[in-house]
Symmetry: C2
Subunit: 291 residues, 2 copies
């Protein structure tokens, strides 16, 4: 393996442990020997929009404010500017406050009065956010893809320290900018969305890299964030591909070593790199990571 | 790799494609060549308990009845015997009917009247289901663990066919019985719970194997299913370990080749196998799969 990437090149670099995000747990290994293992924390975080309880997410616990605002934004629930975000660590609660109550809260209340439960609205709202959405033109060079994958894989992270965690990275050209990790499937992406919202960052010239599978929910979040390119070392679902084609998102999966597959938005790809010049992954690693 | 396992040894073997669970999608690979890729389907399924809408799950779409009843059971929402399960494929809706409305529905309605939303109740209810729960004594031989891991990995499956899917397997001693797969994180386990409920199968002498991480939610589901042993090739979260210790569940992770780590319920382990006699995984494969 080559030298670790300099974490100071990131706007937000991943944690490498020692900050309350991991815990040492003791047990025994296959030989019966005592071992101490670094494992990631997992905590419930309840998100409120004004006085409305929205969801309890299981999270590693860093950047709760970004997670809350990013989740609400990606769900299409934030229709007013955020006025304040209050985090109570002891209670595990984040309250996102807007100047006025938003349409969404009335909708939850109507929904709970009619069909009795708000859980079903979550997905429907996300799909609504896609109506008429077509992602902007952009160029994505294959040399950037290879450089990003190599840099991200060599960046010290909780994944390299403790495993059992997903990572998502906001990138611009060949530079990884914001690297978030989380135990919760989509929290890493929501934390990036929260950071973009707080910093007023536009997605149109960005690339989103994720270690997770390219499911419908991941593709929808990326599209709502206005990012035209989504790349992953993992595989696809049929609906994820279909939504990517619908919103003209460039969807790249199974990105390992010199290999990748592009199943949507091929037109943005500038194939400037010679794949033969890129080191290939060993075959076993390719297969295991496909899920 | 050794010979594929005979799928007829299973009570329910995994699908291997060709039954509407995968779709061929065309795109281009890293060389620019046209490729056709088998990808798994992903469909929304809305679950009702009597007249109460509960949740919309993203699922591959097989065994919707097991998924619905297993989900409700694992969430502690099924407090009455199931009278009927109606699945409408066109609408993507499953209605689980009980003789009387259950306590849970009143609870959802009370909850939605007081704090406004039912989403937060889901996790709290699962934790309530653990109160006072201590899993029964059982023996788990390390020779079984090794045999199960080898058999499961060599069983033809959607994972081997199309990737991007999680698997969970209900096992007894060294025999895998019911092998479920799904795109949704916990659906594979819920489908097993639904099958156990329908068939009146007890969990006390079973082992649950999963490809996914050992998060709190996975450990809670296993405990509620009454299964005293949970094993995975993936890693742990701190809260998952803590809950396993609390309910005396044997928690085995990072099971790859001859290696594994046991972080809870060590007392059930009978170390009858010589790890040195078991083939080891290549190092790259161990690292990639740790997440």
């Amino acid at each position: 393996m080559s030298e670790p990437v300099d974490a100071s090149a990131y706007v937000i670099a991943p944690s490498t442990g020692g900050d309350g995000l991991t815990r040492s747990v003791s047990g025994r290994d296959h030989t019966g020997a005592k071992v101490a293992l670094n494992v990631v924390e997992e905590r419930p975080l309840t998100i409120y929009l004004n006085r409305q309880e929205i969801i309890t997410a299981m999270t590693i616990g860093d950047y709760p404010e970004y997670l809350a605002t990013g989740f609400l934004k990606n769900q299409g629930m934030l229709q007013e500017p955020v006025q304040a975000v209050d985090y109570d660590e002891e209670l595990g609660v984040v309250v996102v406050r807007t100047a006025r109550a938003t349409v969404y809260e009335a909708k939850v209340q109507k929904k709970t009065r009619t069909s009795g439960c708000a859980l079903g609205t979550v997905f429907g709202d996300m799909m609504e956010g896609l109506e008429g959405l077509i992602l902007p033109d952009a160029e994505i060079r294959t040399s950037w893809l290879y450089a990003l994958a190599a840099r991200i894989n060599q960046t010290p992270s909780l994944y390299l320290n403790a495993g059992a965690i997903h990572g998502s990275v906001l990138c611009e050209a060949d530079r990884p900018l914001v690297y978030m990790e989380d135990v919760g499937r989509h929290n890493a992406v929501d934390k990036i969305a929260g950071w973009m919202l707080a910093e007023g960052v536009d997605g149109a010239d960005k690339i989103l890299y994720t270690t997770g599978r390219l499911t419908s929910e991941m593709v929808i979040k990326c599209a709502i964030m206005g990012i035209p390119v989504l790349a992953s070392r993992s595989g696809f679902t049929a609906w994820g591909v279909q939504i990517a084609q619908q919103v003209n998102l460039t969807l790249i999966g199974r990105l390992r070593g010199r290999r990748f597959v592009c199943l949507a938005g091929e037109a943005r790809l500038a194939r400037d790199a010679n794949p033969e010049a890129v080191a290939d992954d060993p075959k076993t690693a390719r297969r295991k990571g496909a899920a």
